[in-house]
Symmetry: C5
Subunit: 305 residues, 5 copies
Amino acid sequence: MIVRPHQHWFTRLFVWHGSVLQKIYSRLLLNLALSISVIFFLPWYEALGIKLTIAPFSILGVAIAIFLGFRNSACYARFNEARTLWGQLAITQRSFLREAKSLLGTDERQIKHFVNLQTAFCHALRLTLRKQPNEATLKKYLTQEELQWVLKSHAPCNRILQLMADWLADKRKQGLISDVVWSSLNHHLNELSAVAGGCERIAGTPVPFAYTLILHRTVYLFCIMLPFALVTDLHYMTPFLSVFISYTFISLDTLAEELEEPFGTEDNDLPLDAICNTIERDLHDMDESENLPEKLRPNRHYQLS
Amino acid sequence: MIVRPHQHWFTRLFVWHGSVLQKIYSRLLLNLALSISVIFFLPWYEALGIKLTIAPFSILGVAIAIFLGFRNSACYARFNEARTLWGQLAITQRSFLREAKSLLGTDERQIKHFVNLQTAFCHALRLTLRKQPNEATLKKYLTQEELQWVLKSHAPCNRILQLMADWLADKRKQGLISDVVWSSLNHHLNELSAVAGGCERIAGTPVPFAYTLILHRTVYLFCIMLPFALVTDLHYMTPFLSVFISYTFISLDTLAEELEEPFGTEDNDLPLDAICNTIERDLHDMDESENLPEKLRPNRHYQLS
Amino acid sequence: MIVRPHQHWFTRLFVWHGSVLQKIYSRLLLNLALSISVIFFLPWYEALGIKLTIAPFSILGVAIAIFLGFRNSACYARFNEARTLWGQLAITQRSFLREAKSLLGTDERQIKHFVNLQTAFCHALRLTLRKQPNEATLKKYLTQEELQWVLKSHAPCNRILQLMADWLADKRKQGLISDVVWSSLNHHLNELSAVAGGCERIAGTPVPFAYTLILHRTVYLFCIMLPFALVTDLHYMTPFLSVFISYTFISLDTLAEELEEPFGTEDNDLPLDAICNTIERDLHDMDESENLPEKLRPNRHYQLS
Amino acid sequence: MIVRPHQHWFTRLFVWHGSVLQKIYSRLLLNLALSISVIFFLPWYEALGIKLTIAPFSILGVAIAIFLGFRNSACYARFNEARTLWGQLAITQRSFLREAKSLLGTDERQIKHFVNLQTAFCHALRLTLRKQPNEATLKKYLTQEELQWVLKSHAPCNRILQLMADWLADKRKQGLISDVVWSSLNHHLNELSAVAGGCERIAGTPVPFAYTLILHRTVYLFCIMLPFALVTDLHYMTPFLSVFISYTFISLDTLAEELEEPFGTEDNDLPLDAICNTIERDLHDMDESENLPEKLRPNRHYQLS
Amino acid sequence: MIVRPHQHWFTRLFVWHGSVLQKIYSRLLLNLALSISVIFFLPWYEALGIKLTIAPFSILGVAIAIFLGFRNSACYARFNEARTLWGQLAITQRSFLREAKSLLGTDERQIKHFVNLQTAFCHALRLTLRKQPNEATLKKYLTQEELQWVLKSHAPCNRILQLMADWLADKRKQGLISDVVWSSLNHHLNELSAVAGGCERIAGTPVPFAYTLILHRTVYLFCIMLPFALVTDLHYMTPFLSVFISYTFISLDTLAEELEEPFGTEDNDLPLDAICNTIERDLHDMDESENLPEKLRPNRHYQLS
């Protein structure tokens, strides 16, 4: 994710990092080349009786803008829901630990074990969503035995949840907590499960592919045909407006595609590393541990992974 | 469902599978034929004093785009709610089994029976929503007696829920779980019931038919009249723009209709088979069963049933 | 409600039942008459120096479309919320009965009484919302004494809820259920109360009347003035486009008004009879009663009451 | 609030009460005067080389319509949330009383006291939101001692909630209800608190003032400049269209402002008196009291206070 | 925050405080200068064959308005969610205290301590979100020991929550409250945690930066190019319309940016000081304390900090 820097409105017109301009500049150059060549071929194709006016493009432009606006809302809603789920994860983990600590009192080793399971869950969820290998990270938090059992499964997060459930059931069996208290603590387990399930749903089911396809097609066809329509009116100014209008439409189409899959590692995706880091720091802080991990900060291009 | 492949932006312009183009190409060909014939009849109907300008079509086009955008939102919201309900189903089944296991401990036969009931519920819901026969699938998970009792009803899902409730009530009567714990487990039964009820609602109540009708009519009439308005301005270019604009409007109208009923088996419908497969695999994995069913994968046209 | 039939896209252009066309055809004929007379009076009023161009109508048309789109969303949201509340009713009644049965065991007479109260509640809610008399229907489900007590009140649903609450309190006093179990069952009573309250709210508070009024006025004034603006450009084609544009705007205005009050008995209102029928059938099926009521089906015009 | 009367579509074009027309007719007359004077000054300012065309107003008109549509949604959402909160209030009070009655049984005096506290809460909330004095109304429901204690505070609703909490705590201390039952009843207190808090939030935080300001300004400037742009095209017809377009924009701007503060006593504000009356009648009916207050009905202008 | 004053519609056209006009007037002056210079250079650049018509700007204008409308919704939703979270904070704190008081009875010192912790939490959240130092404020509410322990952490709110949890756990260990009651009270702690977590999420994750960037760019480029397009049609009137259209677009772009970060201290940000003040006053009032802090009121520019 790009962390929004505070910039002067004028400076911002020329920002390169974090915009989608990096991704689409080649397509805009193509549009520019097309617009320029159209100027030269204008006399030739006017002679053929071919003419395009701007009026039908006005209908098309507005229609596409409306549908693009709709797709953007849908993709942003996915991004936002994903962020809210990860926010929920942070909230639940903190409440879970607070309750566990205030109920079970002073057995520090048990609490440390529990904090490790909590942290492992967050990292496992992050790595699974990003399709990265789990082992190297998880072995910091799990015992050898736990690690092997977790990695044997196709769903490591789920197994870590089971480890937490076992930890809790163990306390109940020892008579340390009553059924009522168990029920209160167990509620957090269900919330963690809901967060993981929600993230899987977002990662597994994109916006219906036909939406993406129809809009992609209409946007690009529109931008390809636009210079031909603009040239009779604007002549030498065609390239300016053609590239400008194309930028507006293509950049929003491209951004929507980025936001649609918020768990990736692109510029506008969620900073899962940083969120995991925050949760880990918060949990260690609650446990008054001395060795808090270093806080992750954005790099010099304002990127936070 | 079509799983979104990662394609170059240029390749994507020519994708055939998963677009609604397959469904509507004949209508677009009709529009093409009309546009071409309009060019030839232009002198004849201009002589009659008939003229259509583009300006009123601009009002109509924008109005239709706005209403189409609204209907698309409504249909996508149904698709999204349906997906969320099935996501909820997966979450609940996993939490349910996790709680059951950690509370009831080690009686493996009982747990296996419970997992079978859970799996049967998912399949029964899927098959009921798709109006497919239940028997062949359910007999893998239910005993003969259970199966007969379930199939006797017009609402098999509901009966399977009752079997689960009986299983739970049985544990309570045996004194294995207190009322508090029963209440916690029973909550998941209510959630399963809510998922089934939500899906029935979506399947049973479409977007008000008059919306579908009004938009269908205005979109098609608009596309039929469009060539007559474009031809005076664009002449030989009429077919290009007429087909392009028609594609934009008709494809979105058609897609909205697909999304409106998300439980079908069309390209943009929900992959219920794959979701059931995932839930079944997750439950068996939690139960550390050896024989996990094979993971369902998209076919070579990126389709996931 | 009209159940959406599966029709060919071409057939659908000529559907009569279930569209709002039945309601508004006289207004469209008026618009047609006006458009035709405008053609004849054109030379006369051009001589007077009166001229209307299409450009200001373009601004108005788009503005009205946007506000109409907004009102449609608001009215559809009411329709959708109403449907969701009735879906919730079905879910709650089933969960309620399932819990009651699995906790109280085998006293069939008591359960039958409870099922009757549940069914009576659904019918009373339906009849109250539609402002139809309750007595004839309720006497099938309530004892004479109960019936009289219920009908004495201005809020029969609420009294039936009290009967259910008494039934439940009775079981608690007899020591059949603990406070925890009572709390779980009582939760369903609160949900039923919330459903009834939600429906009352929708029935009692329309979309602010001024919205309806402003949009009604602007839409109709727009349609009345439209032929005068179109005629200079389109001449003989005026009636076609004037009626087409009027159809688009007036039909959506009229549909929004229908959806605003979803508990009526118009074509696009909710099929409360059918939903009550489904709930009754489900409850009887859960109780393994022999005499399930017949399933309600749409009539030959695809209408479901 | 204006209760929507069932009117013929034609009659509705001339409705006066309940529209915002009462509020804005003077501004429309100003616009009319401006439009007429513009016709006379046209030759003079054309000689000065001043010309305004409709095209830039088309851009502005659509942009303003979109932003106005957005503000309307935001204000309507506030209205709707406020109505839902008051609906929640009715639901909670009824559930609260039902539970209290079925748990505490037959001590009628205690229940009557409780009903009085419930009613006092509703009235206090209504009067606080409308910034009207509480004393005259509250003394009907509270004892002298309670009344003085309640009125001493800047937050009477909150104190009445405390009285209800004390009533409940008293029952718990007497051993009439267990902790589980107390928890169930207390949940309703929290809901009442949430309703009051939600209403305070809506009353205390308007839509950001700059939205109101920017839209107010652009709408009025737009309407002021509009006649100058229309006059070159439309000449004598300018006043008709200028006033019509102004009506569309100004009435929606004004309505949004009314809906933004739904607790007032304007035509489109919530009928808090009627809602309180309904709750009071429902509670007395549940308590089988003889003297139900008279039902509030709309006056002859369909207004419900 | 600017508290909306009740103004005449005419006065409001000239309001300065609370509009974003203060922020953007220099940019509008730049636009004015550009528009004027364009008038003088018109003959010169027409001679060069450069021409810009308004039609492509119409497409652009509408497209930008739609996307700006979308971004405004997203930013307003953040503002609204932030306000709702703070509303939730007030509700929870009051319910928490009411429950604590009615359950624990008369130990005033304990309750006073608890009220201090509650107040400290609100202030710590406010100061953390605004990145202001905590110490000076918190030392009014916390003991020396508590203060040091809280300030040692990077997350003071979280530590105060732990102090509240300890307070609660202490009561449970003393046997003053049962597990059921503890569970009810503890629920409020989780809600406070959720409020803090929700605020952190809003503060930490802006709307994807590329949205801000793309819209900022297109809006400003549009406003820069607009005078060139308007001048051929409007000539001397160019500056009026150019500045007017620029004001509409730039002010909404700027306002969206303000609302995006609702925890700042700008004109349209949330009045966190006032909300904290209200909560503190309410809590003290519930505790019947004599020394309520003074109510915060807007300053003479209607600003509430």
